[in-house]
Amino acid sequence: MSENQIFTDFEVVGLIEEKQINFNEVLTGKNFYLINIWSSWCEPCKDESEYLLELKNNTPVMMIGINYKDKKKNALNFLNLYGDPFDKIFIDKQGTISINFGAYGVPETFLINDDNKILKKYIGPLNDRDIYEIKKIINN
């Protein structure tokens, strides 16, 4: 694994369909992927939902949500309430998938390219400046 490369060879389970899939298979067909680790019990995650929706609606990036140590019912309620910015959502019941990404907790966001290289890592909720930076990278 080269420097700044994300580890992707592990199994994930979908939040809605609960189907198991290798994470490598998720990262196909796009130039950029945004992985966001979130939870319904995480207060800052509520604040960043509008920013994630902004990216979903205005960029070609694939939005991947990792639902961290959460209950399915609460996670779905959260998405109904604050909007669903994700193309795909996977569950991380034990917190071990987030460790695979090198994350510290929630919320945390990784912008990666089609070589699985981490272009940007944001610890904490996204803000205006982060969104501007992400858009700039994607559009260039």
Binding site: F7, G95, I99, G105
Partner: protein, 129 residues
């Protein structure tokens, strides 16, 4: 006839229980709790102050403990676990960084200073004689 069926079921249950027991023994014998503790004691809790992963009950530490257990269950060695975590979180996560390109000076400088200091002292003593 009924009792024959019942005894067959009993035999099947007996072998099933043996199979489950064998599997759990096989799984648990791949690594020891001591091995997990040794690893977690050498890992820094990155969101805590001055605590190891072993000492901390934070969310991050709990996830890390589960991650390490699953890696050990998958047959990974201590070295493989340390190196994968260093790749993800950087050298700072381990208390004992080991000798590498980045830590070479850290390990050799004290020895080098000791040798230089010793050489100066010896030289001074010989000069006096």
């Amino acid at each position: 006839m009924k009792s024959k069926k019942l005894s067959i079921i009993k035999i099947i249950i007996f072998f099933f229980l043996i199979f489950i027991n064998y599997n759990s023994i096989a799984k648990s014998s791949t690594y020891s709790e001591e091995q997990t503790i040794n690893i977690t004691k050498n890992l820094r809790c990155l969101i805590c102050q001055g605590q190891t992963i072993h000492e901390s009950n934070s969310d991050f530490a709990e996830s890390m403990k589960k991650f390490i257990k699953s890696e050990l269950e998958n047959g990974k060695t201590n070295e493989e676990i340390f190196s994968s975590l260093v790749e993800k979180y950087g050298q700072w996560i381990v208390y004992d960084p080991g000798i590498s390109k980045n830590t070479f000076l850290l390990w050799t400088l004290p020895l080098l200073l000791f040798l230089i200091g010793g050489a100066i002292i010896v030289k001074k003593i010989f000069k006096k004689i």
